[in-house]
Symmetry: D2
Subunit: 353 residues, 4 copies
């Protein structure tokens, strides 16, 4: 299947940027879970972001729940989230209808869908489609909290500025809650924003890196082959637009380590089994070991920039150039962060079900 | 499901390191594909590796095909590969039966399986289980070649020594074919081996990084959400024991780039659409764009080392120490390489089916 | 997963009888298929049925397509059908909220969902949910027609009156197109309706049997194990409310036959391989043989009747009696028919994809 | 996927009648379940059957467990059952290699696999492949018994002779345990066998009907849409060779009933909720209601008969005749019974997991 992910808890995404509506169907949630529409709305607003560094489309992004909730609680049947698009104009897209934007999916989509795709605003490839993920993820985050599992993501680096890594995982996650521009060392926020504005002033964009921690996962979750914790998380995380790398624990730094440094010694501490270090990111043999799960996602720079770019005309396959006007974000990393939290919650809730 | 991966082409892994046999069932292969048992045997020998840097168990690793092949060709029904274990002794495992080896899955498995797991030699977590993947992968590699798609992986770094990256992808892949210690710059082979031997002499182990290229994939393969090329490949690649990070194209280097550098300009060249650079690793919006697929896997150091390590006794959860005797590899990266090729071939063949 | 069915072509159902909206997401449709909203509306009206024998709720049942269609054609991305409920009143359901209606899912749902289910009007179990199936099925029926495959279902029996069986399959299917009360021998229509009215006048209901034929399926479709044509069709058909039996070809009549009668001899005829009889219903070894697919579904009487019935109070589990007031159909078989066509089309289109 | 069925508990079938081995991989079993190899062997012998009415191939059918069992208990990893074929001769199959046997899958397979299928003895379509199902099913039956769930199937009719239906379900199921020719009214055994022998003496074969009961299933299992109890069971049951119809409870008899007869009144009895009748076969809205599950499978006559039959030559598609020599069973229904039990147990165990 294509637009559905998950086993017992599964999410199906639908919609196009300029179609009637976008949304998600979340199936498999147990009955009786409290559905907090205010929390959903707050998560949605984190995805939109605001201020000078963002130029998000002015959509209300109001989430309507069409099914699966009765008297404020899940019924156990599919929950459908719908977000109506206000901008459905079929205005003239000009050359964007046939010139492939570098770094975007336009050319790949043209080949795959044979020209029948809804190209307006990126269509089904638009980052806007993640709104459905965030709505569904909000319910998953609530359900995980009831199990004592919390998820938090911060901007580890952006535009060359680097935040500190997770320290005390539990309190660090709590400190990120509801933050619009999520860094652990708050002194880095202005530096990062300045780097973003610098790129913007040159008609350019920046990339970054997101770091995620999960606190409270019990040991023994995951499978040794294929449905490893790393495998399931990465499968879903690569659907977050612009994510091009996922590493767990020490990740690529493992390459230059020796076993005597990288192995995490076990220790019994206050009646709990812990490891002295957490290079493995809480996962051994694909299975949780009870320590916090830690991973990082590489986020590529927003491909929409104001500079002129070389490309082709997809009608004739002739070489040409392209300037993308309109509004686009000089950075996406701060908005991608709530999407990463949402995807992580959906995957882990499924693994715990 | 747990030990099965794939949609139209699916592989199911079974077996324990010291059980009767290990193997794989490969289902969904089209009928009429030539099955070359010599090629399978050569791939199996690459997984075992040899020489001073490896201390692989002396198993014949003879692959028996139980089903799905008739007159040397696939029938279209499930192909079962069985590799009998010669070492099935239930000898005394001593403290390895109850002391959790750091960096291994022992503790996670104890929690998950409640003590019923076959702990001998790592059981179902053993790297030996990848033999089934390599056998199945060999048939997938052959089937891909009939479609003009070739896959190659080299050791990008190991023990601090770095190979060059892919240049001319097609000929570089060809140059790796059948190589026991696969580097592109052959002058690096002895350097890397020396680094491995240095670690070995200290009772230690080294990690590394594998880089993979795929040549000949048509544009338009993959899905925008969930079943992206990156998502499906990484899901499977994280099952290769010791892989802790996967990045595509520029990967984590994207974090410090600007959009004007990272976007790959399109160009029409000799009647084909190409990109001038390939930072995206041949994948845009989760879908192939016709350029070579490029990715890297971080491989952690072999967790079995000769040095004394701190751990717990899983019966009492008391702190203790452990020394692992017996033979173990100071590096796994050169042996993991054929497993990465195999997994890549299985995933891509499924996506093309 | 729960409310999703299909492999390459998959449908996800959502909604409750008295919630905001019901609907379906149809994923995997190839791009470029013509979407005829008039045809969808006609199929929807067949599901509602009319006249004295039906007392269907007066809903407009207008289908809104939220995604996946652009310029009147499928884009290749998920197609979302939404039908808003007009009757969303949370009026007093009285004893229907806690007395289990015999023949209905109320008690099973109470146990499964622990009281959190939306019980109003049957909630997620309501026959109304099939509206989403019919909308999605209409697109599948159109796509099948482009491949030369047609599907038709008639009321083989109802209230003790029996229609003739399929004769010339192709023309019989065509004759059923758009028929509100679908019988092959039109002289039976009034007889059947009279039997239904007789039951109605006694506050009772009748069951029946539907017979389906599929013309134009190529030979060689289906799998020998598990994903047989019979297995996939029956899996989905048992979701049509009230279906309690599915038989293919001679079905249960096979039990009293001998092999010399039941085997269908092959014959070459005008350059095509056919069978002289079609006891196997076009399926051998789980795979189509090129003859028409033939099957029958047993439909139980509408469980909502006006007579007093013995049941329990689900709050106290004490014995009590129940009278169901309001409007309910004395027969469902004529309305179930378009649902069977829709489900059949969805399954077969998936098998051909 | 093709040869795999199940969600949390999944079985993968492999093998050809005259290949090296056949078998099954059973994945998802919880760790610690007792694996009784004697019970497996007894179930295997029920599948083979014996005596004058059966002419089963003289294979030892010894089941080797290759993986997933350690110290007599499941480990939680895939359990592989292998049955080596003793008859692997590639002898001359004569006209059976190219003449399509009526009632068999030969022609459908030729179209599907393009001539690459292993045609010897039916290949992957052989009833022999059910041996893997029976081995896996034996473990599922044991696991269900630990949960208080028992499954029993009897020959409701064969060759025109009819057994009584289930009465006291629990004791009736117990009475069927280990029975080679399973009828409830033992006076019918000789009558049925005589009917089979009569057909045999005429070179012909007979069909029949199997009836299954499941005792002890808790209420609340199953899903309202798609993964209904009926849908999942029928999906798998149609893989039992020769099954062409499945009906639950009153099944096709519902067609001629009225709602006032067919609805099963609820009643509270000794602190349990029961129904006074069980026309619904223990399933309402796709979900168990706590009463015994009841269903029947129609079994077509063995297609291999000694009489001359009309068919085609698959090389030339010319009309010809065929006489099938060798040994074949005049009835299959008594052997199919343990396969139905096995499949039922596998499906229900998965639904309870």
């Amino acid at each position: 299947m294509k637009n559905t992910f998950g086993s017992k808890i599964a999410v199906t995404l639908f919609g196009e940027s300029h179609g009637k509506a976008i949304g998600a169907v979340l199936d498999g949630m147990p009955p009786g879970i409290d559905v907090d529409e205010d929390f959903i709305a707050r998560q949605m607003s984190l995805r939109k972001s605001v201020g000078a560094i963002s130029t998000a489309r002015r959509e209300a992004d109001e989430v309507k729940i069409l099914s699966g909730v009765f008297n404020g609680r899940t019924t156990g049947t599919p929950i459908t989230f719908m977000i109506e698009n206000q901008d459905q104009r079929s205005r003239d897209y000009g050359e964007l209808a046939y010139k492939a934007r570098p770094g975007h999916a336009d050319y790949a989509a043209e080949i795959k869908y044979g020209g029948f795709q809804d190209f307006r605003g990126g269509g089904h490839f638009s980052g806007r489609i993640t709104a459905g993920l965030v709505a569904a993820g909000a319910v998953a985050i609530s359900a995980l909290r009831e199990k004592g599992v919390t998820v938090g993501t911060h901007i580890l680096s952006c535009g060359g500025v680097r935040d500190r890594s997770f320290g005390d995982v539990k309190s660090d996650i709590d400190s990120l809650d509801g933050r619009e521009f999520a860094v652990l060392d708050t002194s880095k926020e202005e530096e990062m924003k300045a780097a973003i504005m610098a790129a913007k002033s040159e008609g350019d964009s920046v990339g970054g890196c997101l770091e995620t921690a999960v606190y409270g996962m019990p040991a023994g979750v995951g499978e040794p082959w294929f449905d490893t914790v790393e495998g399931l998380l990465s499968h879903a995380l690569f659907s977050v637009p612009a994510v091009k790398g996922v590493e767990f624990g020490a990740g690529f730094a493992y390459a230059d380590m020796r076993g005597s440094q990288s192995n995490d010694p076990f220790r019994s501490e206050n009646g709990r089994v812990v490891t002295e270090t957490n290079n493995c990111g809480g996962i051994l043999g694909g299975i949780t070991n009870g320590m916090p799960i830690l991973f990082r996602c590489a986020v590529k720079p927003t491909p929409s920039i104001y500079k002129e770019q070389r490309t082709i005309d997809m009608r004739t396959e002739e070489n040409t150039t392209l300037v993308i006007n309109g509004r686009h974000d000089p950075a996406i990393v701060h908005r991608a962060r709530v999407v990463v939290d949402s995807v992580t919650a959906l995957v882990l809730l499924d693994m715990l079900s």
